[in-house]
Structure formats: C-alpha cells, structure tokens
Amino acid sequence: MLDPSVSNQVQSFYFPNPENDANRGVPQYTGQNYNAYSNINPNKYRGMDKRDNPGDKLYADLIRAQTRDYNARFAPVENFMANEITATGTRSLAGDLSRTRGSVMDQGANVQGMTNRANERFGLAGNSSVGSGQGQVSALVGGLNDTKLRDQDRRTSLLTGSLSGISQKARGVGK
C-alpha cells in the first residue's frame, strides 16, 4: 500500500486534473486583422522645407508604425510563449500526458477488440487479455515518462532558443 502523500503525487503525475488549463483549446490571436502600414503616406512630407527635415520625419513615422506592428502582432505571441513556461516544463504537459495515456489505453482496447474478433473467426472464445496486461502498463509508464522528459527538453529549448534573443535584443536597443 502506497503512502497517501506518495499516492497523491503519483495520481497527480499520471492522472492530472482534466480541468487543468493545459487543456485549453486553441489560443486566440488578437493581431489577426491588424495592419500598421496601411495608413503610411510616402508623399506626406514631399512639399516641406528641407530645413524642417522631411526625410527624418517620414523615417520617424515608419519606425512608429513598425513599433505599433510589433506591439500588436508579435508581443502577444512572445507573452504567450513566456507564459507557457512553468517551473518544471510547459503548460502543454497535462494535455500531452492525457493524450499519451489515451493513445496507449485506447489502442490497447482497439487491438484487444481486433484479437477477439480474429479468435471468434477461428471458433475460439473472444475474451483475450491482449492490450490490457503488464506489457501495456509498461508501455503506458514508458510513454508517460517520455512525455515528461520531452516537456522538460521543450522548456529548456524555449528558454535558451527563441526567447533568449528577446532579452538580448531589448538590452541592445539604443546602443
């Protein structure tokens, strides 16, 4: 008999709460219809006195449009990615564990049904235990452990890959 606290840990690892926010559906993208460049007028400063720096002013408009574009379309994706990282992995872990468990168990039942039907065609009893024995449980445990390890790898790759460039670039602005 497992110690209750260990039992709870095992339970929460292999059978996480299905209401967990990792089973979240499709994240919504808010920048979908945004085009920061539609209102740019290349000829806006054409008649202006050269002493008023019309080229500089137009450049400034372009930089502002690019900043708006970045804030509207890309910053939310960066925020989303940063929010995906948890202390142990990513927010996809619960969903991935649930899918791995579903796949191994469902395919076990699926093959058991196929085996029973095949046996019945030979006139044998269709009560096979194929797909529900120790081997299937071992496959389940291996699959769940692999899922957890891959999630940890994913966290490392998010931190050291795509997201690490943001802070470096932010520190480099204005230099």
Binding site: V77, R99, G142
Partner: protein, 189 residues
C-alpha cells in the same frame, strides 16, 4: 563648408527624403502583401494546439503503424496454416497474442509520439513567429508528413524487432535474417 551657412538651419539632403519614401513604399507593400500571410501563419500555428490537429496526426500514425503489424500478422497466419499449425494450439495462440500485444504497444506509442511531435511543432512555429518579429531569419518548419514519417519509421523498426523475436516466424521462415523485408515491414505496409 565652414561658416558658409551663417545662422540658417542646415538643409536636409534631398536623398534622405527619397530613401525614406522608398522605405515607406516597401513597408506599404509588406503591409498589404505579407502581413496578411504572416497573420494567417500565426493563426495556423496556434491552431496546432487545438484537438483537431492532435487527432489528425495521432490517428494517421496509429493507422499506419497498425498496417505495418497487420501485414506481418497476416503472413504469420498464412505461413502457419500452410504448415498445418492448429490455430487452437497454445503455441500458435501464445505467439499470436504476443505479437498482438506488441502491436497494441506500437500503435499506442506511435500515436503518443505523433501527439508530442505536434506540440513540438506548434512551439517551433511560434518560435519562428518570434524570430519574424525580431527581424531574424526563421527556421524551415518541418511539415506534418515529415513528423508523421518519423513516428511511423520508429514503429516500423520496432515491428521488425517484434517479428524477428517471434519464434514461430523463425520456425516457419527458417531464419530471422531479413525478416522485416520478407514480411513487408518496410513502412506502411
């Protein structure tokens, strides 16, 4: 140049405005042509976190893995019956059940692997979006077919090992060498 302008503000060079106008034109074109494409790509990438995307990739992997084992099991049955094996015999049942169990594990884990591959691809796609936002070159995204194939390739290798271990097949075929090719386990069929 020195002292020539008196107290007047210096005039901006004509080429500076021309260059700014050129950049403005380029950004306008980018806005009308590429921004909608980028937005569609971002939404497609986010859609990959949705259940339909997981269902598609996992179902395809399990179906293809099932096909790999089914071909081998069919050949096993045919070979056994040709040699007069009794389907009710314990030896035949034991072997058949062992291979069916391997099939259950193979299909389940191939489906799980395809699901994990889908999550990886979704994050990889978003990493590319972030690079786009930073003006960096993006990685080539590996497509659904490539990801599915890697799951199925692994399942195929496992199936070859499972069938090679089957003592009945070794008795029937006489040797385990080249079993994968003989039983049509090359992938998909």
């Amino acid at each position: 140049m020195c002292g020539g302008g008196g107290g007047d503000d210096p005039k901006e060079m004509e080429s500076k405005l021309a260059l700014a106008e050129q950049a403005a034109n380029a950004l306008q074109r980018y806005g009308s042509t590429f921004v909608p494409l980028e937005n569609a790509y971002i939404q497609d990438t986010l859609n990959q976190f949705g259940q339909p995307a997981y269902d598609r990739s996992m179902a395809a992997a399990t179906t293809q893995t099932a096909g790999i084992y089914e071909g081998g099991l069919r050949d096993l049955n045919r070979g056994a019956f040709n040699r007069g094996f009794d389907p009710m015999s314990g030896a035949f049942q034991g072997e058949s059940n062992a291979l069916r169990s391997a099939q259950a594990r193979g299909m389940g884990l191939a489906g799980a692997d395809a699901g994990l591959g889908n999550t990886d691809a979704a994050y990889q796609g978003l990493a590319n979006v972030i690079k786009m936002g930073q003006g960096l070159q993006t990685d080539a995204v590996s497509g659904n077919i490539e990801r599915l194939q890697s799951s199925v390739d692994r399942a195929g290798s496992q199936a070859e090992r499972d069938f090679a271990r089957s003592s009945s097949i070794q008795n029937i075929a006489g040797t385990a060498v080249g079993m994968g090719a003989r039983y049509g386990l090359g992938g998909g069929g």
